[in-house]
């Protein structure tokens, strides 16, 4: 087994990986940019090394700096997490040159499957159904527009190197095409350093269902079942669950077989996800392969009882997958909410800032994967994901009740979060019956907000009393003194004397 793993990422996923390493008694080396000196992954890691300025292109995306840290710290393996360099074949190549094991697929498998067009070609060869569209990148917008016209709108533009909804635009008609192309290409260039795009027919009201696959280096490939990720806002997953409420054991087997076939055809090793769009008749179409660990991997962990990160490390170390997993079936139900520092009342603008108070939910069936803490300042340079709230139970209903309960317990103040979005979704009849598709949330958000529930009797009075108590703790309310700082250090005697003096004033 490995002695020391370099974690080439930040935030909650860096924390997730180092937790797995610690359970395996493997030492961890974290890296951080100037904006992340106080980040949780730096605090929890055994070792941590600076890799440059806040912009990710000069830090988390710098292969040279990562390799330099790996050499200096004496790491024998590297975990890329998700995002950043996780799907860039140059990283496994650099690792190979440096004699460091890359915990993920080989560069060749990334190239054969990772880009959306290559994945599609491979899917056709592996007899996996695909959505109509171009299978190659086209640089010329006029050519793409002509194709879109002949295919018929709506169409969707996607960055070749894309993921997470970045560099992706749905085009409803011909007049929107030019602006959509420009926005998507510039976003793709910024996020992935690659502006190339491809075009696909846009399916109406599809569900997004993906299969988690694992492959060892000895030729065994298994499916760990599906995740339903149809609740998306502007193509970003917001809620994920396993199993999917619409997937039957037969469909699960057929989708799993297709995903395994594809992974085999691509010479895949380690954890990967094959994403499908599923229409109302439960036909499934290959969408893309994510050649890495997914953000939403915890829901699969909760229904299979497996630790996917430890499994990734074991496979990278050359271990075999057991035969028995070829017929793994989900147990119970799990669901994940992605909590972001963004303001749902203001078009979901990112709201970085300092977290003043934070109460984390605990108790039966609740898991919180996060990279933040009370007093932490969420930097504006990176993705504003704060935490992933995961709950599981015997049924979908029990899981949803647990999430509602956990949301009631969960408080983060000082910054805006999208918690209210989840309260709304978890109360929607269509969500509760899982009558949803990938545009469902965007449509829901376009409808007027339901009137806010009236606060229970006494709420306003409680706010008034709290405001008074808070103000009484300030040495002079107009000077804006901060309770909990100098006032706490002042002697009770002095404080009370001062209070009495002040009370004599009119």
């Amino acid at each position: 087994m490995f002695k020391k793993i370099l974690i080439a990422n930040r935030g909650e996923i860096a924390v997730r990986i180092l937790r797995a390493c610690r359970e395996l008694s493997i030492r961890t080396a974290a890296v951080f940019s100037d904006a992340d000196r106080g980040a949780l992954h730096v605090r929890l890691a055994d070792e941590a090394y600076p890799i440059g300025p806040a912009p990710s292109r000069e830090s988390y995306l710098s292969i040279d700096k990562l390799m330099d840290v790996s050499r200096r710290a004496g790491c024998d393996a590297l975990h890329p997490g998700y995002g950043f360099l996780a799907e860039n074949p140059a990283l496994p190549r650099a690792c190979k040159d440096a004699g460091v094991t890359f915990i993920g697929p080989p560069a060749e498998a990334m190239e054969a499957m990772g880009s959306k067009t290559a994945g599609k070609q491979l899917a056709r060869r592996a007899d996996v159904p695909t959505v109509p569209g171009t299978s190659e990148a086209i640089d010329n917008p006029e050519e793409v527009q002509a194709l879109a016209r002949s295919m018929g709108y709506p169409v969707v533009l996607k960055a070749i190197a894309g993921g997470g909804g970045k560099g992706m635009r749905v085009v409803d008609n011909d007049s929107e095409f030019t602006a959509a192309w420009r926005d998507a290409a510039s976003e793709a260039l910024n996020a992935f350093g690659d502006p190339r795009m491809f075009l696909e027919k846009y399916l109406l009201k599809p569900r997004h269902i993906e299969i988690q696959v694992f492959a060892d280096a000895h030729g065994r490939v298994v499916s760990l079942g599906e995740r339903e990720c149809s609740v998306q806002r502007r193509h970003q997953k917001v809620i994920e669950e396993a199993p999917s409420p619409v997937v039957t054991p037969d469909l699960r087997r057929r989708m799993g077989d297709a995903a395994v076939r594809l992974a085999r055809a691509g010479g895949y090793v380690n954890a990967g996800t094959v994403e499908f769009l599923v229409d109302a008749q439960l036909n499934f179409y290959f969408l893309e392969v994510n050649t890495r660990l997914q953000v939403e991997h915890p829901v699969t962990e909760q229904v299979t009882g497996l630790d996917l990160v430890k499994l990734q490390i074991a496979i990278a170390a050359g271990h075999r997958l057991p035969f028995a997993w070829e017929s793994i079936a989900p147990r119970g139900h799990a669901m994940e909410l992605r909590l972001y520092a963004e303001d749902p009342d203001n078009n979901f603008f990112p709201c970085p800032g300092k977290i003043l108070a934070r109460n984390a939910p605990t108790g039966p069936g609740v898991r919180l994967d996060e990279g933040v803490y009370e007093g932490y300042t969420v930097p504006l340079e990176y993705d504003p994901l704060l935490s992933k709230l995961i709950a599981w139970g015997n049924s979908r209903e029990e899981t949803i009740s647990r999430l509602r309960r956990a949301l009631d317990e969960y408080t983060i103040t000082g910054i805006r979060t999208n918690v209210s979005l989840f309260r709304r979704i978890l109360g929607e009849a269509e969500f509760l019956t899982s009558n949803i598709h990938t545009n469902w949330l965007d449509e829901l958000l376009a409808r007027p907000h339901p009137p806010a529930e009236a606060p229970r009797a006494g709420t306003e009075e409680a706010a008034l009393l709290a405001a008074a108590l808070w103000s009484s703790r300030k040495p002079d309310s107009s000077a804006g003194g901060r309770p909990g700082s100098e006032m706490d250090q002042m002697s009770e005697w002095k404080r009370d004397g001062r209070r009495q003096q002040l009370d004599r004033m009119p």
Partner: protein, 170 residues
């Protein structure tokens, strides 16, 4: 200690008077001059637990940038302006802009990727004015009203901080 508090919540604004009188280890609390069966304890730096006639409330509190207090109780949010008789001055804030003339501000720090309008353009309500990139996501800033672009204060490619005025629509 006596506080005059203007509270703003979902059901509108109210003005109430809260008195805290030292009583043993805690306070005797009066609301609009009448004693209430209540107990308020600061349980964490920004959290106050209030028991009111047996009902338990957890209040999360912090100072808002405009000098008021932000209070969160479960899903409900309030803003409170506290006038302390001890203070020499109150904290009254009028509306920041004249009706009709709208300053379009950057809601958060980021980079102006594209200006979609120029000086003198006629705009419709909800029409895009600028595209700002923040945290790798591009966001369109839309006009709150239909009118005319009176001024443009930023250029494409410029970095802006939260609250910076991008343009003015009249």
């Amino acid at each position: 200690m006596k506080f005059e508090i203007q509270l703003e919540g979902v059901s509108g604004k109210t003005k109430r008077v809260v008195q805290l009188e030292k009583h043993g280890k805690g306070y005797r609390i009066l609301l609009d001059g009448r004693q209430v069966d209540a107990d308020a304890v600061q349980v964490a730096p920004y959290t106050i637990s209030v028991l009111l006639g047996g009902q338990s409330f957890e209040v999360h509190i912090s100072d808002a940038p405009d000098g008021r207090l932000n209070l969160q109780i479960g899903v409900h949010e309030f803003m409170a302006e506290v006038v302390d008789p001890r203070a020499w001055r109150g904290r009254k804030h009028g509306p920041l802009e004249a009706a009709g003339r709208q300053q379009i501000i950057a809601p958060m720090p980021g980079k102006v990727i594209r200006m979609l309008v120029k000086l003198g353009d006629a705009v419709e309500a909800k029409q895009g004015l600028a595209v700002i990139e923040a945290m790798k996501m591009q966001n369109e800033i839309r006009s709150p009203k239909s009118g005319k672009v009176e001024r443009v204060l930023v250029e494409e490619g410029q970095n802006v901080s939260a609250g910076e005025v991008l343009c003015i629509v009249t």
